[in-house]
């Protein structure tokens, strides 16, 4: 007999709660120590979700909210695989993404950056990984945009990702960046990740997945928490 113990959250690759260079963390980071939760009581009994009602165009951000034509900007493919630390593919994982448009403007009402909105691009999409854990989006390469964290602060090009698997330990919200972006070295959100983890947030140009005469492709794989099997303790 054995039981499954999910690996702990790897504090060596995840950012800490408090990174003062990213100013919003100062009043929002928990300050007291986290209380360790015995696993068998919670995440192993997490909800299991069947089918989210994902629409056929939901993974194509160039079409899913188009009003009267194609969105402006560089069409790209973003694809990859979701695995756990044991190397097993993670099928049926819901992936939701949101991003700025090619001009670096978010649709969100709070975004006041003076760059144009695109009537044919909301910037949101989602899909569910297939039996091998694979996913694929069509979208527009997001632009960089300024933010108020410090003087002349700009976020590098990025796409927000939310992953939602079969139990609570698989919940992940993160951001995907692009190789060679000169803004990465100045971005306190990216730099809050310990050096050991940073490269994991940078997608790789993928010529093999590029569709000729249509769109360049980037690959971005995910690794979610894995588990160990240990013998049941007998009392």
């Amino acid at each position: 007999m054995s039981q499954i113990i999910y690996n702990s959250f790897d504090r060596e690759v995840h950012p800490p709660y408090l990174t003062p260079e990213y100013k919003s963390t100062v009043l929002r980071a928990p300050q007291k120590p986290l209380v360790l939760l015995k696993q068998s009581l919670s995440e192993l009994t997490g909800p299991v979700f069947g089918n989210f009602n994902v629409g056929p165009l939901d993974n194509d951000l160039t079409k899913n909210t188009a009003k009267n034509g194609e969105p402006l900007g560089e069409r790209i493919i973003v694809h990859g695989k979701v695995m756990n630390e044991n190397g097993q593919p993670m099928p049926h994982t819901l992936i939701e993404i949101w991003q700025a448009n090619a001009a670096g403007r978010y649709v969100h009402k709070v975004d006041q950056h003076e760059a144009p909105l695109d009537p044919n691009f909301l910037g949101a999409g989602r899909c569910i990984t297939d039996a091998e854990g694979n996913y694929k989006f069509y979208t527009i390469k997001p632009g960089a945009y300024p933010w108020g964290n410090h003087y002349n602060a700009w976020r590098p090009n990025h796409i927000h990702f939310s992953l939602f698997g079969a139990n609570i330990t698989n919940r992940l919200v993160t951001q995907m960046y692009f190789q060679g972006d000169p803004l990465l070295q100045y971005d306190p959100v990216f730099l809050s990740v310990p050096p050991k983890g940073r490269d994991l947030l940078i997608s790789k140009f993928d010529l093999s997945a590029t569709e000729p005469s249509f769109a360049l492709a980037y690959r971005f794989d995910f690794v979610l928490r894995g588990y160990k099997q240990t013998p049941f303790e007998t009392l």
């Binding site: 929002r28 360790l36 330990t169 951001q175 690794v223």
Partner: protein
């Protein structure tokens, strides 16, 4: 293989994760009606605010509730940006006790300024007996246990979340 690092949900999640709540022209996969309150006599409302270290209500947090008592597996998601008082509001049913544990709902909290989401649990003030014997509640320091109890007023349970300060909510390492 290393785990993919977490990054903040940022200020602009609404049109991607909670679009209908924020009136964007995109269908929401999930909202705050974990059950339809019209269909369930026993439906409850779970509501509250999220406070920062200066006691200011946070208007751009996103809360997810997960619950599973073996009979009902329910999930809800709501942002604090649309209610006039910046509350989160969920309609659900109280989970049944499992294996003698006090009933609880798991809450996951996301916001700008949080690079890693936070987990907490919502217990119920009208379950004093089960709460007093609950293994997890008893693993929490006495003077912080109250931060995990939602207070019943009619069919509504109020649960405020304090990110910092004397009343900082207990967050769990899962």
């Amino acid at each position: 293989m290393l785990q993919t690092p977490s990054q903040t949900v940022g200020p602009y999640f609404a049109y991607g994760l909670t679009p209908e709540q924020y009136i964007y022209d995109f269908k929401s996969l999930v909202g705050n009606e974990m059950v339809n309150p019209i269909d369930y006599e026993e439906a409850i409302t779970v509501t509250g605010k999220v406070f920062d270290g200066q006691g200011v209500v946070i208007p751009d947090a996103m809360i997810e509730l997960w619950q599973n008592d073996g009979q009902n597996q329910l999930f809800g998601r709501f942002g604090t940006g649309t209610d006039a008082q910046n509350r989160f509001v969920f309609y659900t049913i109280k989970p049944a006790p499992v294996n003698g544990q006090a009933p609880y709902i798991t809450a996951i909290i996301f916001m700008r300024g949080q690079q890693v989401h936070s987990y907490t649990r919502i217990y119920f003030s009208d379950e004093a007996e089960l709460n007093s014997k609950d293994e997890v509640l008893n693993s929490v320091p006495d003077d912080r246990r109250h931060t995990l109890i939602a207070h019943k007023k009619g069919s509504t349970y109020e649960f405020n979340i304090y990110m910092q300060g004397d009343n900082e909510t207990v967050f769990f390492d899962i």
